[in-house]
Symmetry: C2
Subunit: 350 residues, 2 copies
């Protein structure tokens, strides 16, 4: 068995309390004693037992962070941002892979209670009654990341301002002269918010809303390929004069591009395509996709900061945070040639 604090104490002839104090960095220790203790620790290869420490200190300095889907490309940067800040503050992250299952989340929360995590950052796909209920009773500070809980839950959140981001992308496209812009909607909470931005923009600017909803969340590239493909097909059928497509994610945009490729249409010469989220493959020359870049690391960091504020009682009830985004201009969307624009306009006017 490995050495305990008692072994160290005995070894250098001091009390256990003294060893504990030097371990915890108390300063009211004579330098000589401290040195003896350090020496003993080294020769005995003593490693403090955190389970004991957690028990007596009544905190674990562990933050649970749920990953909606371990292949979610968002998660890694979110997590990196959160982890950095948390580590700077002496906390560790315990990751839980939810695999898009509400049940696994419930299990994770139970585990979090058993292990007495100090805080929780969650990204649930659905706010079921049961989830809200356990969140209520759990007595562990919680922050929601990238998902917006019901007001009544009292759980604060950090998210991108998808509504504004969608508006900005639309403004960008109309700025390029496009007026016949279709939207491929992601069937998620985020997708809905983006579509609202899209629709409101259309209403305000008096242009036709042409949004198509796909069936699956399409977080996986292979699903998204098919969904974007189908959506693009519908767009071409229902709105053949569309000059630009704003897809709810880059994956959907690529799916749309597959359809266009098969149909013999070229991007951006025949039609502009933009996405959202800026995946790493989106910059490949075959796509060269103009897209919305969310500050993922920043989001993770902000969620962690909010959680720390609650835990350390600086702000027991923080306000929700909506972060901005930027448009990454690449080659998949171009200015509409005035001839084209005129042509279309004329087509309608006549």
């Amino acid at each position: 068995m490995s050495a305990t604090i008692r072994d160290v104490a005995k070894y250098c002839g001091v009390s256990v309390s003294t060893v504990s104090r030097v371990l915890n960095g108390y300063t009211d220790i004579s330098e000589e004693t401290a040195n003896r203790v350090f020496a003993a620790i080294r020769t005995l290869d003593y490693v403090p037992n955190d389970t004991a420490r957690m028990l007596s200190k009544k905190n674990t300095r562990i933050i649970g962070l749920t990953i909606p889907d371990i292949k979610d490309p968002f998660f890694s940067e979110n997590a990196a941002g959160a982890e950095k800040l948390l580590q700077e503050n002496g906390y560790q992250i315990f990751y839980g892979n939810m695999e898009r299952s509400g049940e696994k989340l419930l299990k994770f929360l139970q585990q979090a209670r058993q292990m007495r995590f100090d805080g929780l950052i969650i990204t649930p796909d659905e706010w079921s009654e049961e989830l809200l209920d356990t969140l209520q009773r759990i007595s562990i500070p919680v922050v929601s990341l990238r998902r917006r809980p019901p007001q009544s839950s009292g759980v604060p959140f950090v998210d991108n301002d998808h509504y504004r981001s969608a508006m900005e992308m639309m403004a960008y496209l109309t700025g390029l002269g496009h007026m016949k812009i279709a939207h491929i909607m992601l069937p998620t909470c985020i997708g809905e918010i983006r579509r609202e931005g899209y629709r409101d923009f259309c209403r305000i600017r008096g242009i036709e809303a042409r949004d198509v909803r796909v069936d699956l969340p399409a977080n996986k590239l292979d699903q998204a390929k098919e969904n974007g493909y189908e959506a693009m097909k519908i767009i071409r059928e229902k709105y053949p004069d569309t000059t630009a497509v704003f897809a709810g994610t880059d994956q959907l945009a690529i799916g749309a591009m597959i359809y266009l490729r098969e149909a013999g249409l070229s991007v951006p010469a025949d039609i502009s395509v933009v996405g959202a989220n800026d995946m790493d493959y989106s910059s490949l020359p075959w796509f060269d996709l103009t897209t919305i870049s969310l500050n993922r690391t920043e989001m993770g960091r902000a969620a962690a900061q909010m959680l720390l504020d609650i835990i350390e009682n600086r702000r027991p009830h923080p306000e929700n945070l909506l972060l901005g985004s930027t448009i990454v201009e690449r080659g998949s969307a171009v200015r509409l040639l005035s001839g084209e624009a005129e042509g279309n306009k004329d087509g309608k006017a006549v």
Copy 2:
């Protein structure tokens, strides 16, 4: 504060030991008592304190698993495989993100000792003296996943049989009639093994080895793009009659394709390209990449199984495991037209 086992005991007028026994599923308990205890647990909303349990049981049922790079596309499936098996056996995984840093790994190991993990699955990029040293002293069972430790370390590993996989891919290409096959080598341990397979195959079959080494590990797509691009450029300059390229990873293959695209060469009409690892975007119609598919989930599972065998003392010193792979045939590599083959042959023969 939340209820403790004492509260439960008092509440139903039994001893703490009794409550503990029903909690741990002992069967020598009168049904009536057990029911009373369960009822009390429910009404008091009692959740056992795992930190206390870990301390007294002297095990944590936590397995540490290091992630070389949180964006590593391998990791997710590896982890999923390991997690599933471990969970079935009542263990939990504590993930550690190494960000390709040997120092962070050392810190993680320290943490693992402090928290008294029951086992460790690691994927270190380098086997430094210091690492080997701490692994020696740590007294926690360790298995290496996707990395091969020095023999002397005594750490068992699970990996793909990259040597054989490379040979198989070469056999596939020569089967298509290719005899002038270049190789883009990944500058990692795995990359070296693959190159050995490539070279040995060339030697055995008496064909020229044309391997080009890139500078960076190129695990990130954007690095790989540039590296594959540069490598392809070199191949075109040094070996202009190359008819097929076997890239060390799909990312490198795509980088090579970018060069070919710019050079006005089309794949596979002008040159065949294959990769390794089967990324999710590799199946997109722009690449349609023939590649080596490793059974990632299976690798994770195998590592977990090996670790459990050690922990539960079934096989204290398991043998290393080398898993097989399969070739995913897609459209980026095609049969060499006999005319072309002849042409090249003639070119040499004359």
